[in-house]
């Protein structure tokens, strides 16, 4: 990816104040945003509803009102648990979960997403983990999360949750040797090549800076 700031300015220049047009063109499922009829069922159906600064309903209206910075810098979309409750209840059948993921991913791409947002960091850690060998390495994923804020914080977290770790170990659902060698796909190289190509195609299609 090119320098995020640079690309952000380029994106702004192209769309001026028309944030809705920008979302439609560049955000996954963004073309659905204009269909929202502001009923609020999504807001009332969300398990983390009270924790969102702006509910999906508000986010949709803010997009249409051109509140670009407020939307993209918001940590609201990062509260989505992918439960799909809003999707099945939406009277207009908007793919709200996917739009929230799309907005979050777009904000991250532009470098506008809140840096320390825990779910943003977790999401990146997960994708990096599972694409490295083609399969998730659960031990490295968990340790990566614990130690995200440094060594001291990591050991503290591991100590707090030691009984869970020990329990999982005894239940044979955690493998300490995954630190050395975990499960992996045979054709790792092929997976890496195809993902590189996919990122290139997506950048070309949506007008993103080259990956």
């Amino acid at each position: 990816m090119g320098a995020p700031g640079e690309f952000n300015l380029a994106a702004l220049a192209r769309y001026g104040n028309d944030f809705l047009a920008e979302v439609e063109e560049r955000v996954e499922e963004g073309e659905w945003v204009k269909m929202c009829m502001q009923c609020g069922v999504c807001a009332g159906s969300c398990p983390f509803g009270p924790d969102w600064e702006h509910s999906p309903q508000k986010i949709f209206m803010m997009i249409r009102a051109g509140k670009r910075d407020e939307v993209l810098a918001s940590d609201s979309m990062w509260m989505c648990t992918s439960c799909y409750n809003c999707v099945v209840r939406c009277p207009r059948k908007l793919p709200i979960t996917q739009i929230m993921h799309g907005l979050a991913a777009y904000a991250h791409r532009l470098g506008l997403a809140p840096k320390m947002q825990p779910t943003r960091r977790w999401s990146l850690l997960f994708w990096d983990n599972c694409t490295k060998t083609g399969r998730v390495n659960e031990l490295k994923l968990t340790l990566g999360l614990y130690f995200m804020d440094g060594i001291v914080a990591g050991f503290k977290q591991a100590w707090t949750l030691r009984n869970i770790g020990l329990g999982m170990l005894l239940a044979k659902r955690l493998n300490p040797f995954e630190l050395i060698r975990g499960h992996e796909c045979k054709d790792k190289a092929g997976i890496h090549r195809m993902l590189k190509k996919a990122a290139e195609i997506e950048a070309r299609k949506r007008g993103f800076a080259k990956p």
Partner: protein, 317 residues
């Protein structure tokens, strides 16, 4: 019953010593009894789950799933892809739907797949193990091999999110799906049909990044099971299982509660009812021991039953 064959997409968490490895153990046991042959897709890869969106973007996610489709088309032609994990199923099904609907996305996906020497023809069908059980085996078929009815066990059927939404099981409602209760009944146990946290979200992947918010959800899910007198919670989802079982000790630590509710998979219930040992049913893979199921699993039933009288052979002589 004729042998049924499927291309198996077991998913990362089910691998040996993974967080849902006992799910796989019990699925294998269950399938053996039902004469269902599950052949893993050779060199299958992670679906990316729901949480990887920030790093993945759109096409990369579809390409990951399409790689599995292409491999199954090549090595296991004509077989439906069957996932046991809710997120694998959802991710794969979403990709399938998107690629079916857009020839452009299909072309882009194949352009990327070519880099791995693969091509997806678009013939794959994606299904969840629960669909196979309900649609291909049927409740009657599931009842037939029961040798140890789970009598007296009260079970809260926790369906969760991703096996239920946005796709769900055909003929079931999103708000109150009944299949898990029916399955519990089929095995001779008592379904707690009034359990109101059936489709509540456990926090999913955010159990890791937003632990307190997720544990609030989990607390509701477990406490409601207690309110209804449950001995055990049953679920079809590996992340639901892990979250709801594992974090009970954390909730106890934070809130002074005494939650100790076992959480098992539907396949474990079936394995036990089909006469499997505790190990073959994956009952040794729990932090909170499912005691009632263990008791049934170790109980010796007369194997050599006279089919007509259901009495041990020789009793009438």
């Amino acid at each position: 019953m004729a042998k049924k064959e499927y291309a198996f997409y077991p998913g990362c968490s089910s691998q040996l010593r993974g967080s849902a490895s006992n799910y796989l153990t019990s699925v294998n046991t269950m399938c053996e009894t039902l004469d269902v042959k599950m052949t893993p897709i050779p060199d299958w890869n992670c679906c990316g789950a729901s949480i990887s969106y920030a790093g993945a973007g759109e096409l990369s996610r579809h390409v990951m799933n399409a790689r599995n489709f292409a491999l199954s088309e090549t090595h296991l032609p004509g077989q439906d892809v069957v996932a046991t994990c809710a997120a694998c199923w959802l991710g794969a099904k979403e990709t399938k739907q998107k690629l079916d609907a857009s020839s452009q996305l299909m072309a882009e996906t194949n352009e990327a797949l070519k880099e791995a020497g693969l091509q997806y023809q678009g013939r794959t069908e994606v299904r969840h193990m629960v669909e196979v059980l309900i649609e291909d085996i049927g409740y009657e078929g599931m009842a037939q091999p029961v040798v140890k009815p789970l009598e007296g066990v009260k079970i809260a059927g926790y369906v969760g999110c991703q096996t239920n939404r946005p796709f769900g099981i055909a003929g079931e409602s999103f708000e109150n799906p009944l299949y898990l209760d029916k399955l519990v009944e089929t095995l001779g146990a008592e379904p707690l049909t009034k359990y109101e946290q059936k489709v509540t979200c456990c926090g999913g992947a955010l159990a890791f990044s937003e632990p307190e918010k997720s544990q609030k959800q989990i607390k509701d899910i477990v406490e409601s099971a207690y309110d209804h007198g449950a001995d055990v919670i049953v679920t079809p989802c590996p992340l639901c299982q892990a979250n709801v079982e594992i974090y009970q000790s954390e909730i106890n630590r934070r809130h002074g509660t005494k939650l100790d509710m076992p959480v098992v998979y539907y396949s474990q219930l079936m394995a036990v009812a089909y006469g499997a040992t505790p190990k073959a049913a994956g009952l040794d893979g729990h932090i909170i021991k499912p005691k009632k199921l263990q008791e049934i699993a170790v109980k010796v039933v007369p194997v050599d039953l006279d089919q007509r009288t259901r009495r041990p052979r020789g009793e009438n002589h």
